[in-house]
Symmetry: C2
Subunit: 189 residues, 2 copies
């Protein structure tokens, strides 16, 4: 039954890969990107170095895979908030709050800058922009967001504004930033 065997192998590979990326994430959390070495990841993941090299050729590939998985988790969280029930404005507020909080926790400076400058982040940013654009359009149709400015421009405003979350000093400050940003969207007159 070659099909079953293939499936089993794929499942095994996926479990090992997850363990590798978990070990990578724990190392980054403790000591930053520079703390990640192939030997340490292999030891922490409970596999041999030779096995690790069959999954990832070098630390750079490892870090990019780990970072891409985290981006996917963030997008998944935002997509869940977008799809939740309730008025579009409430869902927009929830997505902006979550995005601001992500930007706050992951400012993308110091040794993380190269990861943040990569194509995966640009792609993820495009997905967030589409989400926000859709919610702004829906909230504008509800009469809850201004219609004197095109939704695409309002979405660009929201994402740019929330970039300030990366330099704010507290979660409360991020909440205030989200409130100010949303106030800029209110219908005029």
């Amino acid at each position: 039954m070659p099909r079953l065997r293939e499936g089993t192998l794929a499942a095994h590979r996926s479990v090992v890969q997850a363990a590798i990326l978990d070990a990578t994430g724990a190392l980054v959390a403790r000591g930053g990107l520079r703390a990640v070495t192939m030997s340490q990841v292999a030891a922490d993941a409970g596999i041999g170095r030779a096995t690790l090299y069959r999954y990832f050729p070098d630390v750079d590939a490892l870090l990019h895979a780990w970072h891409e998985r985290r981006l996917g988790q963030h997008l998944h969280e935002l997509a869940g908030l977008r799809r939740a029930g309730g008025p579009a404005l409430d869902r927009l507020a929830a997505v902006l709050q979550a995005f601001g909080s992500i930007r706050h926790r992951h400012p993308g400076v110091g040794d993380a800058a190269p990861l943040h400058g990569g194509a995966a982040v640009t792609r993820a940013h495009g997905h967030v922009r589409e989400m926000v654009h859709g919610l702004v359009s829906a909230a504008a149709a509800d009469g809850a967001v201004r219609t004197d400015v095109p939704p695409a421009e309002l979405a660009a405003y929201c994402l740019a504004s929330l970039d300030a979350a990366a330099e704010l000093g507290s979660g409360e400050a991020v909440e205030r930033l989200v409130a100010v940003t949303l106030d800029g969207l209110r219908p005029r007159g």
Copy 2:
């Protein structure tokens, strides 16, 4: 009269330097940063290559000096708007409009990215932030800007939001972005 002679030499140097940077700017405007070569700048500035090398050791130094001069011109423009007469909110609006317009004309992408990532831009950005912070504080004292959020956070919001000007398609869109940003600053209640 050695003092007079020194003054004359300094004035001469400053005229030559301005001509060199003008020639650099004209080349950048026509063909981008890659169009700038030492030979072409010397020819366009009407000086010999040997003279040019006494002012700038290489193209990189030339481009940084030209860019730093342009940053200074932008800061000078913004400082003039800040010092102009009238209510703080009007001066804030004028500074934000001018800053948005500068960001729109100089998005800092492509081959200009290295210049925008440099220390001179970080320093200039700090000056703009101080200006905006001061005007936000003054407008808040006038009752024209919200006081439920600290002025420093509102200044960070303004500058981050106006970063979106770099990707907007027209001057009208930049004006709308400035209006939306200012609406986020209005007193609540």
